[in-house]
């Protein structure tokens, strides 16, 4: 089965399995033993609500993480570049949208378009000026992309300090309203997030699978020198991939920031989340990234609701460490010659 179909089938299977797997142990005991739920509610454990919230929040975070991590994984798969400023692209886009729409006279739609354009340009110039000179040396690429991420964060901090009263408040959700399932709020905005990101991912997969340029990308990720021999412009493909990953990160920011406001640690948080998704699913493998994104977000929310809230914040670190020790190439990754 080819990649796109496998991936879409994977998404459907995961969501299809997750929904009954979570709902069945809820619904049947709730019908048969209503006293159990009353007891648990008295103790304070809102089991039903937590499980539903896990499903809802986990799915939306999962699709957003998939969007961000596909960019990250593509960049690694195509050029062996580990882009440590990826999280900062997300953060910067959110900030730009906010500053253009709230502190500037720009209407919201134009603010979004403008910041997406800006982040695309920043992504392209990151590749051209910072990554390309260091191309053979992975460690130096990591160092310089980290420095860029650090620089972006410090400039934002500085701007916040210098201009009085300039703090990030929040963005509006442009689709209001929610429905209430057993006490958990399921806002329509989240449905919008999920539908949009899944369609973008599907478009991306169609692009990589069906078009000629997508074939070039796949060729370069398989064997760089052979692709060069076939006349593929390796540099151009890498530039396109890095730019695309920046755009995807920006798009994810436009979708998710209204739902979860930015804070100073958000950039690094999303970088590490996408890193753990990619390590879990396999570096350079897109179906693996999708599966990893959903596994990570569901287990993160399960941990948050049922074990401890702080542990959920560091959960992805342990996934990184454990995966690197037992299986560094991920679940669906190819065994590289390390």
């Amino acid at each position: 089965m080819d990649t796109k179909n496998k991936a879409i089938l994977g998404i459907i299977i995961i969501i299809a399995i997750a929904i009954p797997a979570i709902l069945i142990p809820i619904i049947f005991p709730a019908i048969l033993y209503p006293n159990l739920y009353i007891l648990l509610n008295m103790v304070g454990v809102d089991v039903l609500k937590n499980l539903i919230e896990t499903l809802i929040f986990g799915s939306s975070l999962g699709t957003i993480l998939a969007l961000i991590s596909i960019g990250y994984s593509l960049v690694y798969g195509v050029g062996k570049i580990i882009n440590l400023s990826h999280g900062m692209f997300y953060f910067l886009t959110g900030y730009l949208i906010f500053s253009f729409s709230v502190y500037g006279p720009v209407p919201y739609v134009y603010a979004i378009i403008l910041s997406l354009v800006i982040i695309t340009v920043i992504g392209a110039s990151t590749y051209r000026f910072l990554i390309k000179p260091f191309h053979g040396n992975e460690i130096m690429v990591m160092i310089i992309t980290f420095s860029l991420g650090f620089l972006i964060q410090q400039i934002i901090l500085l701007v916040e300090l210098l201009i009085p009263g300039y703090t990030f408040l929040s963005l509006d959700q442009f689709i209001g309203g929610s429905i209430d399932i057993f006490g958990a709020q399921f806002s329509f905005y989240r449905i919008f997030i999920m539908i949009t990101s899944i369609s973008i991912i599907a478009l991306l997969l169609i692009f990589i699978k069906k078009t000629r340029y997508g074939k070039a990308i796949r060729a370069v990720s398989q064997d760089r020198d052979a692709a060069k021999l076939m006349g593929i412009n390796y540099d151009g493909v890498l530039l396109f991939t890095v730019t695309l990953s920046a755009f995807l990160a920006g798009f994810a920011a436009f979708l998710y920031v209204p739902e979860e406001p930015l804070s100073m640690g958000t950039g690094w948080n999303f970088l590490l989340l996408s890193m753990s998704v990619v390590i879990l699913g396999g570096m350079g493998s897109i179906p693996g990234t999708l599966i990893g994104a959903f596994i990570l977000s569901y287990s993160k929310y399960l941990c948050q609701y049922f074990i401890s809230e702080s542990l959920a914040g560091v959960f992805h670190f342990f996934i990184i460490i454990v995966m690197l020790v037992i299986r560094p190439y991920g679940i669906l990754g190819k065994k590289e010659k390390i």
């Binding site: 460690i139 990591m142 620089l151 500085l158 020790v325």
Partner: protein, 374 residues
């Protein structure tokens, strides 16, 4: 041949019937061999280094440092120098791990923070004096660092960097967990008074620590141990094929590196009087990377010079910024400093991959030769 004779002597002098003496003799023989490996002809090495141009440059710099600072007696200069010296120990320890043994880790702040915390805990819990606490914290950092080191042994390249990054960031967040009730550890008031009342004393103590640490690391660099490390960096398979147990030597490298990083952490905690979770911050594990790149990756003295240059450059630029901007923004000096640091970082890494000190020293040497008329 003489080692075999020694062992034969030991075996005949103390047969199996006397196991304790046998045990101790084996330790003595083994450690003599270790000591021989560590300091081969250190005296003449030092003399030839000192009389070379590079050594003279660094020694002059050190002498200027030692003489001028106490004369100026300005607490700001003391502060900058002390921070520079602590960071130079940290940078040199990272260099031993990454530049010499090739294990590039982005999580050095883990060792730094663990050292600082253990130091503070030792002083608070056991009431020991600061000198013992510093050494004990360095030793315990090594032991705890083994938890990070042992899984890292099988990782290479970017996976090692990512794994160590994940470890240090995990520690940063774990130390902030509200459930674990980890608080900032404050040093007792008597120690703080003793320490801060005389900045010149602190300056000289930290200077002695720095000199001893850097000298030990230089000796390791120039010894057989250092050669094995460099072999692991250059071609691990060839080193393994030569019969050297790379796992053992990688572990030794991690242990040495974490010892000195813990030492630097303890000095940092002592300087600031507290140990907080901020010691595990991300940028502290990138400082040694930056300093070492600035100074030239595989040279210990380069990383020390890089640390000094960076700290002073940041201080100078932030003072420069403070002249341009009005007084109300003086409280944002730290942020200015960090932005300046980040910009310099990007530019320097982009344009000078092999450290800026080699070209500077080479050009200075040419200048010197021209002046001397050679």
């Amino acid at each position: 041949m003489s080692k075999e004779k020694e062992e034969l002597e030991v075996k005949t002098r103390y047969p199996i019937g006397d196991p304790i003496k046998h045990f101790f003799n084996r330790i003595i023989v083994g450690s003599k061999r270790f000591v021989d490996i560590k300091i081969p002809a250190a005296g003449s090495n030092l003399k030839s280094w000192a009389t070379s141009f590079r050594g003279g440059f660094i020694i002059t710099f050190l002498i200027i440092l030692i003489i001028i600072t106490p004369l100026m007696n300005d607490p700001v200069y003391y502060n900058t120098f002390i921070i520079a010296m602590i960071f130079s120990i940290l940078a040199a320890s990272w260099d031993i791990l990454a530049g010499v043994t090739g294990q590039v880790s982005f999580g050095h702040s883990a060792f730094f923070g663990i050292g600082g915390y253990i130091f503070a805990l030792f002083i608070n819990a056991f009431g020991a004096d600061w000198l013992t606490s510093i050494f004990m914290s360095a030793i315990f950092t090594v032991l705890i660092g083994l938890i990070i080191a042992i899984p890292s042994l099988r990782l290479k390249g970017p996976y090692l960097a990512l794994g160590t990054l994940a470890f240090s960031l995990a520690l940063y967040y774990i130390f902030q967990f509200p459930e674990l009730h980890v608080e900032n550890v404050y040093l007792p008031l008597s120690l703080k008074i003793f320490w801060f009342s005389n900045p010149m004393r602190e300056f000289f103590i930290v200077l002695i620590f720095m000199i001893i640490s850097v000298v030990i690391m230089l000796i390791i660099f120039n010894s057989r141990l250092g050669t094995v490390f460099k072999g692991i960096r250059d071609n691990e398979y060839a080193t393994e094929a030569s019969g050297i147990n790379t796992v053992k030597y990688k572990l030794i490298s991690f242990m040495i590196s974490s010892f000195f990083a813990g030492l630097a952490g303890s000095l940092y905690a002592l300087h600031y009087g507290t140990a907080t979770f901020l010691m595990f911050e991300n940028k502290l594990s990138f400082y040694p990377v930056v300093f070492t790149i600035l100074g030239g990756i595989a040279s210990i003295s380069g990383s020390v010079m890089g640390a000094f240059t960076f700290v002073f450059l940041v201080r100078i630029i932030s003072e420069f910024f403070s002249l341009l901007f009005p007084i109300e923004l003086m409280t944002y000096i730290d942020t200015f400093a960090i932005v300046a640091f980040a910009i310099i970082l990007v530019l320097i890494i982009r344009f000078s991959q092999h450290g800026i000190f080699e070209p500077i020293i080479k050009n200075a040497k040419k200048l010197w030769d021209i002046l001397l008329g050679k």
